[in-house]
Symmetry: C2
Subunit: 413 residues, 2 copies
């Protein structure tokens, strides 16, 4: 008997009417003959409201108690969802992470899943119930309540789908799929029908906020297809799945813009073994998030210019750390530019298509947009540009890669 995992986010559960709508979807899947596991987030803005309350009580709340507090949001949702399904005359049962046996490590507010017990799930499913699981939360070996990080209900859903060998993991959200670019910035953006795990991971890392990266990693590892779709319509959304040949026929599948970045440049860095390691160890120790790293050598390899992008919020701290490093390591100069964005083009077809980088650079030249730094990987090309150029740049490269065309895009509609 097939099994479907359905996950509903906070906006799809914001009020009793929306909870009933989500319940009807689960019931329909049940009536179509599937076993159904629902994963739910906290209603609407509940998590933010709880965080506000926590900060009103304590400037820097202990992480264990934050997890104790925030997990109530999902517990409210599972109970209400079970009531909604009961009201419609069907059997359901809600389960907290503790009741289910979703074990994590003990890293409060950013725990990682270690093991999911199937026993309770299998028992409830065998009794014909729709099983409703609280997303985002876990329990450690000592019975402490943990959370998996903001947005991690997706991860709960993908992990459950993996453990249960689900046929599909449906992510219901307020958009109708993954787009070739953010439609709020690029009106010509199209919904993508099928996308590979790797491209989706790169798009998420490059600024597309459709799904939590760890959820995609889980799905990839266990080869569970993820269907990202709207909670408001029955239209097909985007399937995130293993790579197919038709995907490779397309050079670029999507373009993204990651805003609110800063770029840190270290010039005249002595190019001796261990220097880069020293620098990034120190940066990591100070909890500064590093996005991309670029390095060029010069002067016959004696020196290097080393740069990395980081969150704009971390810019001040990054400058302080790097200036300390510059003194102790004999680095020439530290410059921090807080006004940049990262523009990326992503697609598995890049491996086999040529001239992709040239097309991107030409499009930006045509728009009179200066490129400050460039980094590439197997399936991504990224440019650091001025923040104010971002939206225009995104529209120009979306156009240059013909992502708005429906004619020559297999795997898109």
């Amino acid at each position: 008997m097939s099994l479907t995992v359905q996950k509903f986010g906070g906006t799809s559960l914001a009020d009793p009417e929306k909870i009933h709508r989500a319940a009807r979807r689960a019931i329909r899947a049940k009536l179509e003959g599937h076993r159904v596991v629902l994963v739910v987030s906290a209603m609407g803005h509940t998590t933010d409201e709880l965080l506000t309350l926590a900060r009103a009580v304590c400037a820097d709340p202990p992480k264990r108690e934050l997890d104790m507090l925030l997990t109530t949001g999902e517990q409210i949702s599972i109970a209400l969802m079970a009531m909604a399904i009961d009201a419609a005359g069907h059997e359901a049962i809600s389960l907290t992470a503790g009741q289910l046996g979703l074990l994590t490590d003990s890293a409060h507010t950013r725990a990682r899943i270690q093991r999911i017990s199937r026993e309770r799930l299998d028992r409830e499913l065998a009794e014909g119930k729709i099983v409703i699981v609280a997303g985002f939360q876990g329990i450690d070996a000592g019975g402490e309540i943990t959370t998996l990080g903001r947005g991690a209900s997706d991860t709960t859903a993908a992990a459950l789908a993996a453990v249960l060998g689900a046929d599909v993991c449906e992510i219901y959200t307020d958009v109708d799929g993954v787009y070739t670019a953010d439609p709020r910035v690029v009106p010509q953006a199209r919904k993508i029908d099928e996308i590979s795990y790797d491209v989706m991971l790169e798009m998420a890392a490059a600024g597309a906020v459709v799904m939590h990266s760890r959820a995609i990693e889980f799905a990839k590892k266990f080869n569970v297809p993820i269907h990202v779709r709207s909670s408001l319509t029955d239209a097909k959304g985007t399937m995130i799945m293993s790579e197919t040949q038709s995907m490779e026929a397309v050079a670029v599948q999507g373009v993204t813009l990651k805003e609110d970045l800063a770029f840190v440049s270290l010039t005249a860095v002595p190019n001796t073994p261990g220097v880069a390691a020293r620098i990034f160890a120190e940066v990591a120790k100070n909890h500064i998030v590093v996005d991309d790293i670029v390095q060029n050598i010069y002067d016959g390899g004696k020196f290097a210019n080393l740069g990395f992008s980081t969150n704009a919020a971390d810019a001040r701290e990054a400058r302080a750390v790097c200036e300390r490093l510059a003194k102790s390591l004999g680095i020439g100069k530290v410059e921090v530019d807080e006004g940049v964005s990262k523009l990326s083009a992503i697609g598995v077809g890049m491996r086999t298509h040529t001239g992709i980088a040239a097309t991107m650079f030409e499009a930006l030249a045509h728009a009179a947009i200066n490129i400050e730094n460039i980094s590439t990987s197997e399936i991504v090309i990224s440019c650091i540009i001025r923040r104010e150029d971002g939206p225009k740049a995104l529209r120009f490269i979306h156009d240059a890669f013909k992502l708005g065309d429906t004619d020559n895009r297999p795997g898109s509609s």
Copy 2:
């Protein structure tokens, strides 16, 4: 080392400032050298708000899911309380019923405590932490989340105090103690300094809403003194404790009014063995709450008039049940009066003092208030009267028993 259990109700935790005030009290007890266990209710009107949400989703929510929903209120409170204590620079840890090991039976929404594990409590207390326990909730042997009934955080506190052999269980609330009568109805009412478990139990049953009855039963069984006091001041409140000689010197310690009752009268009931049993079994089966029962025989014991008080909300159902019974048992007539209240006088001194009933009846006669039914027990005299006469009756008997006098009341101030 002495141990104090402090319980804070929802009104004492309604906002961050009030949470901090409660936290300061716990910290003060800690600094005075006590080990401290805090029991907290849900903030302000949280439980009512969650119930409203539940009813918006499902007219008759499954009880298991109601418990799943409502227990989030106390979980929010324990987390915020731990944060408040942390913000003040002291160590605390919050525990759900599951983490603590507060085991109940499986009767959702009205579970009874079966066992409380000391292990986790002792461990955290030994580390010098203030331990914060979620009131109202429990966990059954299968790991299901249960609740102990509305207002049962008092019960959690009393049960913990009993298990831990606490020196005192302090109940912080928005009144400053137990009064000789409801001060909103009787302005002359005085705070009682000391009251016995039995008198407090009878007062609670007769309409005083200061504390949950089961909490008093726990405290009595394990002889834990309960101190009911205001969360706003440092004034001494009321000690609920074992009977002392000075208590017996007072005939009546308090008077109460239980409103919103109905009185069901069955006339010409065949007085044969098993008839009363048949009647009350049927009433219980229909979940009708029976308050007091009064029966008189007549006609040489051939017939009886049988009456009982019940909640006004149950009146219609009680009538239907009794009319069916009247047919099958050959009972003469069923009358239901929905407009009555119960007036009670309570005190351990009644056992040794005489003329208490006469004083009460004379006071009512003097006020021209008619008595419809009378029932008495060892330490209670109750009269059923017209609801509109209630407040006046309460003032008259409060006066008649000189409860407003400070001169001749040992154990009161």
